[in-house]
Subunit: 392 residues, 2 copies
């Protein structure tokens, strides 16, 4: 299929890398339900992750195995290079069945392949690997040795290939376009949904040569006191004549994400807010300067936090996380965090969102960047004015 | 807060209903992680469901308890009527921690309230109640009696109140607006992302008096052979000069959803496709006529299937499911399915999406409706031309 985002060679390399990690960790088989892991391993794409489905990697197989709903098996044929024999549908009547479960048939498949005593690594922490998925799979394979694979594939995704970086950079351009469009239309009295409608439009149109994909998180736009908490969405209310609004959005290109946060003040901002914004931007710069290969994730956070401390501020939550291929509900990769204690050594090609923001009692200010690690520091993926944006 | 979608009285009634169901099922405490259940019980809203969070209902408490990330606790204060003492944050360092987990602290909270030996019902099947959530919660409460609560709150949501039906009807209007807009812009040669951009814009702008909310599923638009599988998303490719496209989208109003599917043929359609479309619409009519209080979910499916059979067609998968309040990744409620064996008796106020479609080897045709059950049949929530839409 011409519409698969990467070459056969690239998928083969990923597969080999994952097998290597499996050998080290002592797994014969891993079950990957995170849709980003499924997509990264095979190309599989489609909004079918609301039902149980997964990709299996077995140390003796030459390709992954896709397992999912019968009506989605055709999507696997259309969006992957997998051989037909490794696209395995489950019975439709098991969808949302009170007693049976699709993973009863997954257990059967694993038995049928002769792997019933395998050392099996599952993604205990993946969003859609529910308690019930795990119960049915383990009950169906009483002789297997199950353990958490510790997001093994997520970790394999950490350093992006050149082909992935092309998509990350396009995602950054799409994000910049959408953010700038939002800032253009934000005016006192404009209904919040109108700003969001323009963001969605710009996110999807994308930029010349690179159409947009859906983002793993909807546009977030807390307004006023809502800026003191990061995950509120919009309402019918008009933007105020005076006050704060925060925008956190991503550009997505073929499921690769570059998120960005900007803070907007309608009307003349109080000095206190201007001061926080300056500190936050200075913090980003310190973080980006530190984000070069060889330094640790914790060091990036430390550099950021030192600037904030100088200005009498601090952030309790982590200041960033790795990004890349993503599906709802999150555009983070759930691996490296920019926070104290994360001693991961940065390598060129890792990508992060440094969420440079503080959420105080009554308001918040955040001015973030998505970046790729290079040998000289963090290279920004987006290009939007880096300041408190004042709409007067 | 003025922005909470329902009155205190409505939330109190829901809470009482859930307690009644808990008494019958023999639970002292239920843990609700499905974001739709959290929202339905309390009003809580925000895109924070990518981290562990939940609402607890205990039989002796006067209100639910919200448990979640510290930075999202403020969202709980802003979007619910919950008393401050029942909004409980967990420690930030537990986010995506390899060893610790937020539900270690949830177990602590449950112990601190004296409920360590409670009969606890968890949502084994909820999308975000991961295997790891369950492991940490059960390990932390070794004396409790855990079992699956069988989507107890989802079942309580099945019959909509009058206030909910207002939002469902507005969602239907928003959906109609967005679908009609899509049909207006679909022309041969138009890039797929452009159609989707217009859909997102229309979904979000909504209709006069009712702004749109984000839908739990992104716009689905399989094209050509892609119409033989239901969950493919768009690409950069232009719409063909001749061929099929299918659109499945929802209108969302304050998290209430009305989905709709239409099938579009660019250029003159082959007779075979026109014939399938006619059968599919006739099937919907038969289903809607049967969808009155007292009849069963299975009877609706039977009426639909009988029409299709008459035309030599059949659908393997269920023909519909209950709808209402929803968050990604699904706009179904995971309770009643319109399929053989589902003997749920319909009641006025239940809402469904009848996914009247067939996915054949090389193409598919679907013309669906969202509807509310009444004493005389299914009342459609959307109003879009019910036919194969030909763009010539």
């Amino acid at each position: 299929m011409s519409n698969i985002p990467f070459t056969r060679a690239e998928y083969a390399e990923r597969f080999a890398q994952v097998k290597g990690r499996m050998a080290i960790a002592g797994f014969d088989l891993i079950v990957c339900q995170d849709p980003a892991n499924m997509g990264w391993l095979t190309g599989f794409d489609g909004w079918s992750f609301y039902v149980p489905q997964c990709v299996l990697v077995h140390r003796d197989e030459e390709t992954p195995i896709w397992f999912g709903r019968a009506q989605d098996a055709k999507s696997a044929h259309l969006t992957t290079y997998l051989p037909a024999k490794n696209i395995v549908p489950f019975s439709e009547h098991l969808i949302q069945h009170p007693v049976g479960h699709p993973y009863d048939e997954l257990a059967e498949l694993i038995r049928a392949r002769g792997w019933s005593k395998a050392r099996i690594g599952v993604e205990m922490d993946a969003h859609y690997y529910t308690a019930r998925c795990h119960a049915h799979l383990t009950n169906g394979l009483p002789e297997a040795a199950f353990s958490n694979n510790g997001d093994l594939v997520n970790w394999a995704r950490l350093v992006k290939s050149d082909a992935e970086l092309v998509l990350m950079r396009e995602a950054g351009q799409i994000c910049s376009h959408a953010m700038n469009r939002a800032i253009e239309v934000m005016r006192p009295g404009v209904p919040q949904y109108q700003v969001i409608a323009e963001i969605y439009h710009a996110q999807t149109i994308g930029v010349p040569g690179a159409g947009g994909d859906y983002a793993a998180i909807c546009p977030l736009m807390p307004v006023g006191e809502g800026t003191s908490t990061p995950h509120l969405t919009w309402s019918d209310a008009p933007l105020p004549t005076s006050g704060l609004a925060m925008l956190e959005i991503a550009g997505a290109r073929r499921r690769y994400h570059a998120p960005l946060t900007r803070t907007i003040h309608l009307g003349k901002p109080p000095q206190a807010i201007t001061d926080v914004a300056k500190a936050v931007v200075e913090g980003v710069d310190a973080g980006l300067a530190k984000a070069k290969s060889g330094n640790t994730a914790a060091e990036v956070e430390g550099a950021w936090q030192a600037v904030l401390r100088k200005h009498g501020l601090k952030k309790e939550s982590r200041v960033g996380y790795s990004i890349g291929l993503a599906y709802p509900p999150d555009w983070g990769e759930r691996t490296v965090s920019l926070r104290p204690g994360d001693e991961t050594a940065l390598q060129a090609g890792m990508c992060f969102h440094i969420q440079s923001g503080v959420w105080l009692q009554d308001f918040g200010v955040a001015i973030s960047e998505s970046f790729v690690v290079t040998d000289t520091g963090g290279e920004r993926l987006c290009d939007v004015a880096r300041e408190l944006i004042v709409i007067d």
